[in-house]
Subunit: 196 residues, 2 copies
DNA sequence: TGCGCAAAAGCAATTTTTTTGCGTTAGCGC
DNA sequence: GCGCTAACGCAAAAAAATTGCTTTTGCGCA
């Protein structure tokens, strides 16, 4: 199979003009994947099927994305990109609780979990996962920056990720039982309660 | 494809006598996967290939595991099962640091990361992931129990998972850059430093 | 604006993988 | 020992993936 260099398919949006054919193909393939994912189960999803709905030939998809996993990961990363800034609720603690709770809820859903798995499963895992964790990090950075302008003492960004984000993802991916009612609130407490 | 019930393949060790044919098949297939995984890249790994090395027909594998992902997940869970108890280094803090550091190291390796991804990628993700997180939890429980017999104050098991284990897995799966030199020590500090 | 180059897509033949029906084997209870 | 049935092997058929070659088309440049 000599897979090594073949698998390094171009991920995410390539540097193409928005009117170009490649861009059109990419858009229509992405749309097709999302459409199929919305109604059918992911187990019954094949490259030829996507190709047919997208109006391209399967070989186009194979050449461009390598395989179904890469394509799904590519689509997932797109959908993981945040569309709005975290809501401003007036304080660091509530900003955090609100954003984390929303994140937890979205990612706990079956579509959310599927996207996370797709991102992690791809061979270009490193790229995709890094990308999608950069998104969350950036959202947290916005919250932190806002708090700083208010004059609050703001924890380190790494601490925010380690103390609050990581346990949520652990809960989603490995063990949902740890996420009881006050889970997110407890995490934020742990972050904001200063160690003596 | 009517995948819904087909995909619910039997996972993990079925209730079979160790001398039975199924058990022999399972063992030889597992061994074949590990052997192939050890030398070839996972991209160039196919069911027929595994079947050939294991001395079974591909259809046996398809019927029993469903597809390559499920098989890989099954094998990964087996390999994730801890073989020894956590080392007794004389104190809770050092026990934790030692075990977590070893865990981090093992799972950060390419084989380790691949196993985690395999477990998460399978459709029976819930089962596999829960299983493998139960392993870690149990190891931590052993450490906690030992500390209790010493009369130490022992943190909640959930806290140990959230504060120490989750960030390590986050680092492995999403963002290795957070895991600098004193990473594990810092996590254990965070766990054992009592909040006032 | 038009020309040519190269990247990307289409097409079709080939190969490989996956699925499935049916006969056979072998483990397990009686 | 004697069936009964779950699990396996075999082989044919279907589906998916790969690949060589042709065609299209976007882009840079004169």
């Amino acid at each position: 199979m000599e897979a090594t260099e073949k698998k390094v398919a171009r991920l995410a949006t390539p540097g193409l003009r928005p009117g170009g054919r490649s861009a059109r193909v990419q858009a229509s393939v992405h749309a097709a994947v999302q459409a199929l994912l919305a109604e059918h189960d992911r187990a019954e999803l094949s490259v030829p099927q996507v190709a047919a709905l997208a109006g391209v030939t399967p070989s186009t998809i194979y050449r461009r994305w390598g395989d179904l996993n890469e394509l799904l990961a590519d689509v997932a990363v797109e959908r993981l990109r945040p569309e709005t800034e975290p809501a401003d609720t007036g304080g660091l603690r509530s900003d955090l609780e609100s954003w984390l709770e929303q994140y937890r809820e979205e990612m706990s859903s079956e579509p959310g979990r599927a996207m996370l798995r797709d991102v992690l499963a791809s061979l270009g895992s490193a790229i995709g996962a890094a990308q999608c964790c950069a998104f969350s990090r950036q959202q947290l950075a916005v919250i932190a920056a806002r708090a700083k302008t208010r004059g609050d003492v703001v924890p380190d960004l790494d601490a925010m990720v380690e103390v609050c984000l990581a346990p949520i993802l652990y809960g989603i991916l490995f063990d949902a039982t740890i996420m009881d009612e006050g889970f997110v609130r407890r995490l934020v407490d742990r972050l904001l309660t200063p160690a003596p």
